[in-house]
């Protein structure tokens, strides 16, 4: 465990190429799917990093898609003396790629490239005043939050997790990834926890707390991230967001994953992100329909 936060490198390098990993386990969870890959070769990924995954040997389904690998954040990394390194992923089936991944069965093979991208900063680096961290996860975006929370726990850094979901059918992974520890939940449909948006919980916290000592981390749907970003920027609370954008390669080769920067131009989310500071980007919703 590196002792000095400043000495933490911003990314863990990936083995060159892609490698075949075996699926060890899969199960449903609150409308999502969790699966575990055994990755004997890869390094331990840092919180915020992601992998490019493609089921093997046959990735394409009827209709010729998926064709490109899919960017997926790891939701947990564990070393088992017997069974090697295990990577857990949390999947929301929104299209051919995520469905194909969710369909994999134990014993199946999966192409893995990564870990790619940079990591979340530690709270003291993000905000020298930070007393701890506030983690705001939405939907499938709770995966990288879970990884960050675990690192913070290991380092003895206090954190609070606020997790928001549309409904029970989009709320997987909470128990598996966050355990029974204190997390506050918000459901838009009011089926459990706070009825409404997770940003309501964030506002409560930032009002109760001294905003000056807060460090916020967030991952979730674009609209939620943009709301979190604005809330934090307005209060001058340092915030890091893990964004999404369509990716073909994940390692800087295609220039496809452009996200508009605050000062003009674009960053390549796969290598300049996926974790960005709230004030670095123009919007977390670059993913919105292009108006033509």
């Amino acid at each position: 465990m590196p002792a000095d936060p400043a000495a933490t490198p911003d990314r863990v390098q990936a083995p060159f190429g892609r490698r075949l990993c075996e699926v060890a386990e899969t199960r449903p969870s609150g409308g999502y799917r969790i699966f575990t890959l055994i990755d004997p070769e890869g390094p331990a990924p840092a919180p915020g990093q992601f992998f490019m995954l493609a089921a093997a040997p046959d990735w394409a389904r009827e209709g010729g898609r998926p064709y490109l690998p899919r960017a997926i954040s790891h939701a947990r990394f564990t070393r088992h003396p017997g069974s090697g390194q295990r990577l857990d992923f949390l999947i929301d089936e929104v299209g051919p790629g995520t469905s194909r991944l969710a369909e994999m069965k134990p014993g199946d093979q999966c192409w893995v490239a990564g870990p790619f991208g940079g990591r979340f900063s530690l709270p003291r680096k993000l905000n020298p005043q930070a007393a701890g961290a506030i983690l705001v996860g939405g939907g499938i975006g709770i995966a990288p939050m879970a990884v960050l929370r675990r690192e913070l726990v290991d380092r003895g850094i206090p954190s609070r997790s606020l997790l928001g979901f549309r409904d029970q059918a989009h709320s997987g992974g909470v128990e598996e990834l966050f355990g029974c520890e204190e997390t506050r939940l918000a459901f838009e449909d009011g089926s459990s926890g706070h009825k409404g948006y997770v940003t309501d919980l964030l506002l409560q916290l930032l009002e109760g707390d001294d905003s000056a000592s807060a460090a916020v981390y967030s991952c979730g749907p674009p609209a939620m991230l943009e709301a979190v970003r604005r809330i934090c920027l307005e209060r001058e609370v340092p915030v890091e967001l893990a964004l999404e954008s369509p990716m073909a390669c994940g390692y800087g080769a295609c220039f496809g994953c452009a996200v508009p920067k605050a000062d003009g131009g674009y960053l390549r989310l796969c290598i300049d992100g996926p974790v960005v500071r709230g004030d670095e980007i123009a919007t977390a919703m670059a993913g919105e329909p292009a108006v033509d």
Binding site: R11, Q13, A14, P15, F16, G17, R18, A54, A60, G63, G64, R65, P66, Y67, L68, P69, G97, W111, A113, F116, S245, P246, M247, A248, C249, Y251, G252, A253, C254, F255, G256, C257, A258, V259, P260, G264, G265, Y266, R268, I271, A286, G287, P289, A290, V291, D292
Partner: protein, 318 residues
């Protein structure tokens, strides 16, 4: 697949060394311009990238006079067996490239080809002169075919303009000039013949094919730039036809690409008349795709009864 299951074939040892326009190469595998950022890859993969560099020759992303931000998002869309991109040539501009990137690219240790694009013949001339002046550069690729940038020039569509441009650029350097052709014309061989007449040393092809995608949610166009270019295995049969048409029309060598995903498909381009080949979109699926093609070539050649690349080239389908 089954064949190899029925009787596993030992990998034949084969010398794949070759060359293009007098540039000696350890093998026939280039990258498609804009499909592999070697500097980014080095940041991501570290020195392992250099030790195991996947291409025999590195082609840079297309460089323009001034820095460009590229097109607004979204820039990518997946299609059946392919993808559309509308990247729009983001880059540091000529000065930035020469100052910051070229030196680092030279560390890779394979010959470098620099791809350039401009809005005018004058800018093309500046790019060619200044790039060619650098010792690190083995050759220059002239991108007259990017579907994602609206340049004043439609050189790539018009044989006469292509020839005129080549005649203007040819005297500026003794280094090889490779013209990247557009597939979005009725007869690419007419443009290729004009490029040759103007003094081109080689043509490379195909660039991406004009394509569009619709946002499933908004029903508006998905790509920020409105339209883009198709690449990947979906376009391979089109690329093969064009490589064949062009290679039988010109005397200069053809750099063949378009949907190459493995050694078999690379070899198809050689058989269609390409001298060497380039891997593009497949790099996104596998960062080592170029090396995988090289590794598979001896077996692919032997399966078709060829003892060498030269034998395969001699057997072009004509």
């Amino acid at each position: 697949m089954t064949e190899s299951a029925k009787a596993a074939e030992p990998l034949p040892v084969m010398d794949l060394s070759t060359g293009i326009c007098g540039i000696p190469l350890s093998g026939p595998v280039l990258n498609g311009s804009g499909t592999f950022d070697a500097l980014a890859a080095r940041r991501v993969f570290g020195d392992a990238l250099i030790e195991d560099f996947p291409f025999d020759c590195y082609v840079s992303k297309t460089i323009t006079m001034n820095p460009r931000p590229g097109n607004p998002p979204y820039r990518l869309w997946e299609t059946p067996s392919g993808m559309i991109n509308s990247i729009g040539l983001p880059g540091p501009g000529l000065d930035g490239f020469l100052e910051n990137d070229l030196g680092a690219l030279a560390e890779i240790g394979v010959p470098l080809i620099v791809s350039v694009m401009a809005d005018s013949a004058e800018d093309f001339a500046t790019l060619v002169e200044r790039v060619a002046a650098r010792d690190e550069v083995a050759g220059i690729e002239l991108n007259v075919s990017c579907p994602n940038v609206h340049s004043g020039l439609i050189v790539g569509e018009q044989p006469a303009e292509t020839e005129a441009l080549m005649k203007a650029l040819r005297p500026l350097t003794g280094k090889p000039l490779i013209v990247k052709l557009t597939p979005n014309v009725a007869n690419p061989q007419e443009v290729a013949v004009a490029a040759e007449a103007g003094g081109a040393d080689s043509v490379s092809m195909i660039n991406t094919i004009k394509a569009a995608a619709i946002d499933p949610a908004s029903s508006r166009t998905w790509l920020g730039a409105g339209a883009g270019g198709l690449s990947g295995p979906a376009v391979r049969p089109i690329a093969l036809a064009q490589v064949r048409a062009v290679s039988s029309a010109v005397g200069i060598p053809v750099v063949g690409m378009g949907g190459i995903s493995d050694a078999e498909s690379a070899l198809e381009f050689i058989l269609a008349g390409a001298e060497v080949i380039a891997v593009g979109t497949e790099n996104f699926r596998n960062p080592r795709a170029g090396a995988a093609v090289t590794e598979g070539l001896p077996l692919a050649l032997r399966r078709r009864g060829f003892g060498s690349l030269a034998e395969a080239r001699a057997a072009t389908i004509g």
